[in-house]
Symmetry: C2
Subunit: 220 residues, 2 copies
């Protein structure tokens, strides 16, 4: 139905609209897609003709309902494949993204439905991001970043904000992974670094920068 390229553009535009409200600029898209502004203008015209987004010269773009659905479906496929790679094939969580970037473009609705079933209808991917449902619903789960907690609070790691490999590998190195139980021991006033106890066992100090990028679910 839609080409790899079209799906990739729609997904990128969708993610940009999610972050910042208002119009999405040509340069922002070029940046996200690692391509040139001229290419974006061309593609955006094509997508506008197909009613996937609204485009006004020099004014940026806005996804239509149809375009958003395609984008969300692509995100759904991406995250289900990431979950498959991680849960079933034992890929590490920093290895799944690149391959899912290819798998997300396989065209077969039945395949995705069956994959979803096979995985047991997971709510989140290995990075803690919500997996949209078949009809496009996205259940926002009640997560906060570790940096929001107070001294004494308990929580479980469920994901990350920063998705870059360098960060994922860092967490792996200090053995702070989804599922890890954390209690905040102290927050150092000087640099906001956190002393935490992991799995009621290991004491660890993490920078504010790390704390800001870890998504947790508060134990209640």
């Amino acid at each position: 139905m839609y080409s790899f390229t079209e799906e990739n553009y729609l997904k990128a535009i969708y993610k940009l609209s999610d972050n910042k409200a208002g119009e999405i600029t040509t340069n922002a898209i070029a940046d996200a897609m690692q391509t040139k502004a001229a290419s974006v203008t061309d593609m955006v015209k094509k997508l506008a003709e197909k009613q996937l987004l609204k485009y006004e010269k020099y004014k940026g773009v806005k996804l239509s309902a149809k375009g958003r659905k395609v984008a969300i479906d692509t995100v759904r496929k991406h995250r289900l494949w990431e979950t498959f790679l991680h849960n079933k094939l034992n890929f590490k969580w920093d290895e799944v993204h690149e391959i899912a970037e290819q798998l997300e473009h396989i065209q077969s609705e039945t395949l995705i439905d069956k994959l979803d079933d096979f995985l047991g209808y997971p709510a989140h991917d290995p990075h803690g991001d919500p997996i949209p449902g078949k009809n496009g619903e996205i259940k926002m789960h009640d997560v906060v970043t570790l940096s929001n907690l107070k001294k004494g609070d308990r929580c479980v790691v469920v994901g990350v904000v920063d998705h870059r490999t360098i960060f994922l590998k860092h967490l792996q190195k200090i053995n702070l992974m989804p599922g890890s139980k954390i209690q905040v021991s102290t927050i150092n006033e000087f640099d906001q670094s956190h002393n935490i106890k992991v799995n009621r066992n290991i004491e660890l100090q993490i920078s504010f920068d790390v704390a800001k990028n870890i998504l947790v679910k508060i134990d209640s």
Copy 2:
């Protein structure tokens, strides 16, 4: 490394060389690829430049060792994915081919290795075709067509010769599937149709045309 199109051409040429010895003609490739002879000539020149095959004007083509490896790898990927779709996602055996045609082009050696492991290193795909190993070895299994058996012989269905959906669905309809145990009751001289007993239970008459296209392993 290689594009979808290149992999598809190499696979088609490989399958043609497997059937008939000698050179593969432009028209034969065009036929197999559902494209035009002119397109084949263009692509074949490109593949020859990349040393994937030997091409002489008006003389047809022959795969190089390098080209054959790419083709066999593609077949390996195709059959592993078909096995995944059938064994893990419960697709029927006539539904897996089209999707595998897409999945076979995903690029990641690790992915295929892990998939192979996940599936338990299967020797055959759902249609009874051998799955090439990581290094390109293909273990030919000792199968014959049902039409080769004599009265009284016992065997188990392991695959098909004709891969068309219409045949696969027919077998499904008469409930003759991989795993079915068969004993030949009689072979009717007039039209070579076979009366068989399936799973020591159901009596069935099948035409010679069907018998010729069922691969079986003889019970011994």
